[in-house]
Symmetry: C2
Subunit: 341 residues, 2 copies
DNA sequence: CCCGGGCGCTCAACCGGTTCAGCCGCCGAT
DNA sequence: ATCGGCGGCTGAACCGGTTGAGCGCCCGGG
């Protein structure tokens, strides 16, 4: 209840008997003050518990010291989708050293997302943004470049002309996954994917098709969903009720795989005896269910860390190349087995 | 690539042929300009796409237009814990109308959390914060009041002297849950709880004990965990391996309940035949597993919305009372049944 | 001995808003 | 006719930093 007074550089200047300018030079490690004056000023600032006012700094140098992340997925999906929180944890880790803040916005639709960028830009609230869930010809890319708001795309490389990206090549993992299934005798393999309009979904699908062709498979039956468990369950029911029931299904996230597992119980299909399941994205969830889920695992927090780091160096004026992270690896667990005879 | 120029009130003033002050009055709906001048200024501002610079505004009126939320839970728990993302969605909804931004910070430990508050305060980055996961004699309360940083406590009422809270009374739900189980013949009921140092965990436990006594039960065996599925599984194994195996277990979140369900499969215990399971917190997860989980459901996004609204009116200088939300309700599903003979 | 040049510092402007004091002109009241 | 008051506006200070211009001073070189 004794609201502390926040010290300003003027307070420090008065205490040290120097001018505001000298204090600023000292605190920012710039030339213009002697070593011992600097020492003294730093000591006083530390003792007073000084922090630079983000507003004043932003106003004078035009940088807000914050970056933004807009997540445009429905709340009910977000709640249960482990990806984002892990990603955000990673982003924080990448930001921590610099004291940059993270603004998070959860929107209801793409229009609201664009409005958020416009507002952040107009209010000079963020210095740059992280872009997730890229779509084909994503209008956000054009918007951000029109606004001149620096951005880093997460999860996919090309298509984002002029905007660097931090991404993971799913190709190798798709190949590994399909080869593994084929080696175990699977021929009818299906895929339950995320929304078709996401670039990473589409591209993963293309690799699936290409690999299937290479391996001489009849093709990979693909059903698109909204990533929710409910939709995943529906897709699974449909696949299992069709004429040529698959012997293996690969899912685009782990929540849908868990949902599928309970569909198999409901329908009396044994996993992995009659049906193998593979999750893409490996959260704790995969280890909690029975049987534990074979999953394609990528290091999500690392992804966030790299994206944050890339954006920071972009803001520092550096030339940032596309950054490719370690490819995901297949982690076999109890939900996969040789195909039934 | 053509970085738009962000208009300032000086630009608007020049265009309208008035002073900066007049523009400020017009844009803020304050007295001091005639209706028609105001009209003209608003029109020009809209045409130019003006947004107030958050930095300039923060500097001059001392308010940042942002609130903060620090989540101090390990990343691996956060990823899979549906509560937070849903809560955050709700907070955004409560903030949306005012244009207030949300700063999110995920920290590794309590020390880092306090450091975050100190920094935010020193940098004047946020006007107030939302406090979750309250502990007994929580040092954050003292810190925030020392700093004079407004706060709203989420999830619990008393103990937060001087700080308003938005909370849910678990008492009725605990009573309902235990009565339901007892009515179905259960006598040996156990509880797998969250960390003992959280106030809401402790209080829920006290109500459990009191109700159990009222209902003439031998007492509720309670195991504390870190909320992770792994820990929940461990606790479940221990309870099921003990001498007086419970016939019903109530969990403090849904992830642990899912984990417990797979432990029962692993140990050959039938649910709900031999063992009933109840989850506290009802995310989609509960409906995805088989059998679907009976759960105590509370409206988490609503919780976030109210908390945000309370903080906003606190920042407006209003007297904010503790706000009690609708009590949670028991949603029976397939994981509960009469106790075995 | 004088001059030039850096070092160490001060001063003031500036970023983009808000707000207060003050001024002008017009109105109604006395 | 005079005066008070108020509506409508301007000008300037202020918030807390950063930064460029400028100014003594001391030192070394010619």
């Amino acid at each position: 209840m004794s609201p502390l007074k926040r010290p300003t550089i003027a307070d420090i200047a008065a205490a040290a008997g120097v001018s505001k300018g000298a204090v600023s030079y000292a605190l920012n490690g710039k030339a213009g003050v002697s070593a011992q004056t600097r020492e003294r000023i730093l000591e006083i600032a530390a003792r007073m518990g000084w922090h630079p006012s983000s507003a004043a700094r932003a106003l004078s140098d035009g940088r807000s010291g914050a970056i933004g992340l807009v997540v445009d997925r429905p709340a009910w999906v977000l709640g249960i989708e482990p990806f984002f929180m892990q990603f955000i944890s990673g982003v924080e880790a990448g930001l921590a050293a610099t004291g940059t803040a993270l603004l998070l916005q959860v929107t209801e639709d793409a229009g609201a997302e664009e409005a958020a960028y416009r507002r952040w830009w107009g209010e000079r609230r963020v210095d740059g943004v992280l872009l997730v869930d890229l779509r084909d010809d994503d209008p956000r890319i054009a918007l951000l470049s029109e606004l001149g708001l620096p951005a880093v795309v997460v999860g996919h490389a090309a298509g984002a002309a002029g905007v660097p990206s931090v991404w993971i090549d799913d190709g190798a993992a798709v190949r590994e996954t399909l080869a593994y299934l084929v080696a175990m005798g699977h021929r009818r393999i299906a895929r339950v994917a995320g929304p078709a309009h996401f670039v990473h979904t589409r591209e993963r699908g293309e690799v699936f098709d290409a690999c299937a062709a290479e391996l001489g498979l009849p093709g990979v039956d693909c059903v698109h969903t909204d990533y929710s468990g409910e939709d995943g369950a529906r897709a699974t029911r449909r696949l299992l009720s069709g004429p040529a029931r698959p012997t293996a299904i690969v899912f685009d996230n782990d929540v849908m795989t868990v949902a599928a597992l309970s569909v198999t119980q409901e329908m009396g299909v044994s996993v992995p005896g009659e049906l193998s399941l593979i999750a893409w994205d490996d959260s704790e969830l995969c280890r909690l269910v029975h049987p534990a889920l074979t999953a394609v695992s990528r290091r999500v927090p690392e992804h966030g860390r790299s994206a944050a780091a890339a954006l920071l160096s972009l803001l520092d004026g550096a030339e940032v190349p596309d950054i490719q992270l370690d490819p995901p690896v297949l982690v076999p667990r109890g939900s996969t087995a040789p195909a039934p005879r």
